[in-house]
Symmetry: C2
Subunit: 339 residues, 2 copies
């Protein structure tokens, strides 16, 4: 059973997904075959073509016209075999007294397999394949939003072991949550207050200021701009934002997919070259349900290279120590060659 | 120069400490001798007795009566050689327009070398040595607070490479910050609202509820109690709290040091045995300057084993996925043997 518990000290909901009934200490030393041990062998990779039966039921796929249930897919979406949250759970709140509140682990946890290719990372895929991935993720986002229990849709990719991935075959993940995460609520509140005070969108103002300042810009096109933000928390942290006023992917139009794929490819290849294929996480931050048409927010992609390890100061204070000035990171990324 | 920049999207101050002037990509591939390469050789360990000249100037030390500046210290405190924040910087706010605000990197960054022993971890030290460490950290905390520019004192230990430590010789760190970290302010606000609503301390109520519920308790004595909290964010996350109403270490009395050393030793040894010497971070969370005597808060030690890797979901949403129910973690810790 999946549940969430409320942490009164921080106002966070914490997800509990005790997937295996083994005793806790076995998590680290289990001799049972796990995702981990299958990680780098194509034969046993559940995401490789021909191994479709190794995954939970297919939710969505892009295939040549006329095909169905075959191994000739180009992008494939399945449920996560070890889900953080599940559609079958309810989202009732329960009160066990005093500081003990919990709710059902209602939500969804999907995997978007980027391509049939076991090795090639997203940045090295042809632009058409990146477009297919983005279109697929958007389609799943829109479909998941039809379930009104889901307050937020969290979209991300983990690349490399240091970034928390357990299966090498490149894939995105989508987790629908039955609550708005506190961090997202915080970001919305900060931007809403800015909007109430100034009548302007904080993110739009930031984009304009970064374009004017130039020194943290990496690349731009007619639809999008990529930069290392002025107050980046991590070395080489890179943001991609739209030039249109869009709070979520509800309003992203088909004509924007190609330029988004192009700027994402460029950013990923620049990071790949500059940092020698770093582990990284990629997240898509959007306004929560109900705020799709609000002016205060712009959705943004954050690419977060894992080149430093958060330690006691970060965990204790929540603050970050960044050893690379954003201007230096941007200059280095900007001037590097891109294939 | 150290500075902080304000992230308007989250209201976080981010610390910038570009310690080396090498180009950013050299951070990972530098051939210059670094802390890293010295990590596990006593001969070159700046924290081992006899190597006192390898550290910045000594700030504090516990030595036999009559000794001074010698290698016979029992606990030693020095400035961090690569500080996140520095006493010499100012804390003026600067406004470079629009979304670009920064301030001087004013603060302090000290290292508390736990003992002359290069290897032995804190939990395996004699109880008297743990007492010396705690007394020393408290003394440095009280001294740093005399500088009224410092709004918060962040106290932590990193144990193991996966927890972000770069020098093996066991040490605590103390960072004084010129701002109250946003996460700490959040915790204070949640607890203050609880106090305003109920007239009670959220942390005291939580301690009482955990004692009554029993199932997440690990160990207790007359002064302190240790448990895995109901909504623990991480597997085996363990908190130690005082039974007295104390918001900070300003009011911790000498008579409490021995029982604190005892409960800390027990917790560390239980985690060591249960998880086979896990990497971990330890933090001491306290109310910020000015709230030392407020009733809404209890200081608490959090021990955070690094047995899972936060990934895109955690970075994107700020929420945690915990695969171990707190009751299971506590039962396993409670029933394990302790040497």
């Amino acid at each position: 059973m999946n549940i969430l518990r409320f942490d009164h000290t921080t106002a966070d909901w914490v997800v509990y997904a005790p997937l295996r009934k083994l005793r806790p200490h076995h998590q680290q030393t289990s001799s049972v075959p796990s995702q981990e041990s299958l990680r780098d062998t194509k034969e046993f990779c559940p995401f490789c073509p021909g191994n479709e039966k190794m995954t939970p039921a297919e939710i969505y796929a892009v295939r040549p016209a006329g095909s169905s249930g075959t191994a000739d897919w180009k992008v494939r979406v399945v449920s996560n075999k070890f889900p953080a949250l599940r559609i079958e759970e309810d989202h009732k709140r329960h009160d066990d007294g005093v500081t003990f509140q919990w709710m059902g682990g209602c939500g969804a946890h999907e995997v978007v397999i980027e391509s049939p290719d076991h090795i090639t990372s997203l940045g090295h895929q042809p632009i058409e394949q990146i477009e297919l991935v983005l279109k697929t993720v958007q389609a799943r986002y829109l479909d998941l939003k039809r379930d009104k229990r889901f307050q937020s849709i969290i979209i991300f990719e983990n690349h490399g072991e240091g970034a928390g991935t357990s299966l090498r075959h490149p894939h995105w993940q989508i987790i629908a949550t039955p609550v708005v995460p506190r961090l997202l609520r915080l970001k919305c509140n900060e931007a809403t207050e800015y909007f109430d005070r100034t009548g302007d969108c904080l993110y739009r103002v930031m984009v304009e200021a970064e374009i004017k300042a130039k020194q943290r810009l990496i690349v731009g096109n007619d639809e999008f701009v990529a930069f290392v933000p002025y107050a980046a928390h991590l070395p080489f942290e890179t943001w991609i934002l739209p030039r249109r006023p869009q709070a979520t992917w509800d309003s992203v139009e088909p004509a924007q997919i190609r330029p988004l794929a192009e700027i994402l490819k460029t950013v990923l290849l620049k990071l790949y070259d500059a940092l020698d294929n770093p582990d990284f996480n990629l997240t898509v931050d959007m306004a929560p349900r109900g705020d799709e048409d609000r002016e205060y927010f712009l959705w943004h992609i954050r690419v977060l290279p894992r080149v430093s390890t958060p330690a006691g100061f970060e965990l204790g204070s929540g603050m970050s120590i960044n050893t690379t000035m954003p201007e230096d990171a941007a200059a280095f990324l900007r001037d590097g060659d891109v294939r």
